[in-house]
Amino acid sequence: MELREYDLNMGPQHPSTHGVLRLKLAVDNEVVLGVEPVLGYLHRGMEKLWESLTYHQVVPLTDRLDYLASLSNNLGYCLTVEKLAGIEVPGRARYIRVVLAELQRLASHLAWVGFMANDIGAMSVLLYAFEAREDVLDIFEEYCGARLTLHGIRIGGAVRDLDAPLVARIRAVLGKVPDRLDDVRALLDENRIWKERTVGVGRLSGADAVAHGLTGPALRASGVPWDMRKDIPYSSYDDFDFEVPLGANGDVYDRYLVRLGEIGQSIRIVRQALDGLPDGEFAAKVPRVLKIAPGEAFHTIEAPKGVLGFTVRSNGTDKPERVKMRSPSFINLQALDAMCRGYMFSDVIGILGSLDIVLGEIDK
């Protein structure tokens, strides 16, 4: 066959790039020689904006970073500010945060499996996954009034208490999710087309994954056990008994298995947190005008997409001098080139999907 190398443009308007992402592909016929992501189409200058807002005012804006996991962003930022200001969060608030963060992981992973299967052409999976996700979003709506860009965690604690009716509702939803998950797995686990498109595709070894800075489920699918909830626990995660699912082959299929395994573990964690919910306040008393003495703090959490970190530097006023975000999707997307090289052009969609990126936190 005649060798033909050319560049191919994908996006920024493309249904499977999960936002406004542009990929410049170098291809030889249908084999991918290299992928260069072009960013910035959604750049809103968040970090600049945060410098002109008070510490409290920044929190709702973090909702718009990874907009499929707003609560995780709230949590990451609030924990960093609390570390910097030395704010002690009450035990009940820490447990409520765990409940919210794990429900958010569940919702994020359910959205992922629906979109991912849809990208590859299995459209019905989306309906089952979103049925379960709807129930979780209904919980969020009852808790804080919003379903997307929701705001449930504030500096010092949570926005409100988990009352008995809501706890009962969460338990009811947790009872239903495994059924929907079984539906999804029945459609995909041994599906020949799904396996053709995912097994052995987009492989990355554990060593390469670490070298590229990969974190989250995509890293663990390559067999590297690195999860902030276990390794650098925060917000009482060391109180709970759960496992960290790992993959062996580091391919798209393993990333699918790891995320589905994590949904089961999230259910376990939420149940334990509800069972052991301590009495007390749901938030610490934090001054409305929060002035923080000059200093710097860095804190990371395990967000659904990977290690989410914030660096906050204070200058003695009620506004941060600088907030720097370590966005897991941004760092993870760097590995796309290495994952795609040598695979077919049609695999790019599946590999990109398997990274689980959200452009809101890539472009900030």
């Binding site: 960013l39 910035g40 750049h43 200058g45 970090e47 600049k48 002109s52 570390k83 670490v210 070298a211 590229h212 800075g213 056990p225 690195w226 390794d231 650098i232 710097e296 703090a297 860095f298 990371t300 290690v307 970190g309 660096t311 530097r313 001098e321 600088r322 720097k324 370590r326 941004f330 760092i331 997307l333 760097q334 472009d363 900030k364």
Partner: protein, 164 residues
């Protein structure tokens, strides 16, 4: 020697090893909020990173953050560039900081840590910090023909022509 450095579990050993191995490079080292923070002369950055990765086992670079020190008293560099290294299993974290003047450059971390690539491009785009030896130092968020660096403290908030 490599085994020695890698076998030390605490961060105390890392600071000791750094000061012993690179006399003059370590300007300050302190424990702040349970993490080891080391201030370096920027010239030594590449060799310190190489040592930390190959011999002290810091296998991941988590983040690069830049701070604009505009107007701060006593600083000899306009910008502070912070590298966050991590070693796992074991979950050890290390913060390396180097000051750099406006228009000056730092040795690139990319030859040692591939994951530094985009973080360095972001630092260049937002602050104009230059990295010597970076394979592809272009803007990452702003358009290629954009002038200025938006996260600098003296970047006009209302736009360069007053928002008109």
């Amino acid at each position: 020697m490599p085994e020695d450095a890698a076998d030390r579990t605490g961060l105390d050993g890392i600071l000791e090893a750094l000061t012993g191995r690179f006399p003059g490079a370590v300007l300050a080292g302190a424990f702040e909020r349970n993490e080891l923070s080391v201030r370096l002369a920027k010239e030594s950055l590449a060799s310190v990173l190489r040592f930390l990765k190959d011999e002290a086992g810091f296998n991941a670079l988590e983040d690069i953050a830049v701070f604009d020190n505009l107007g701060a008293a006593g600083g000899d560099g306009r910008f502070t560039v912070v590298y966050r290294l991590c070693r796992f299993p074991g979950a050890l974290r290390l913060r390396l900081a180097a000051d750099v003047a406006e228009g000056a450059s730092l040795p690139s971390a990319v030859p040692v840590y591939r994951s530094a690539d985009w973080a360095a491009r972001e630092a260049f785009d937002m602050f104009g910090v230059l990295f010597d030896g970076h394979p592809d130092l272009r803007r990452i968020y702003m358009p290629d023909d954009f002038e200025g660096h938006p996260l600098r403290k003296d970047f006009p908030l209302a736009g360069r022509n007053g928002g008109a």
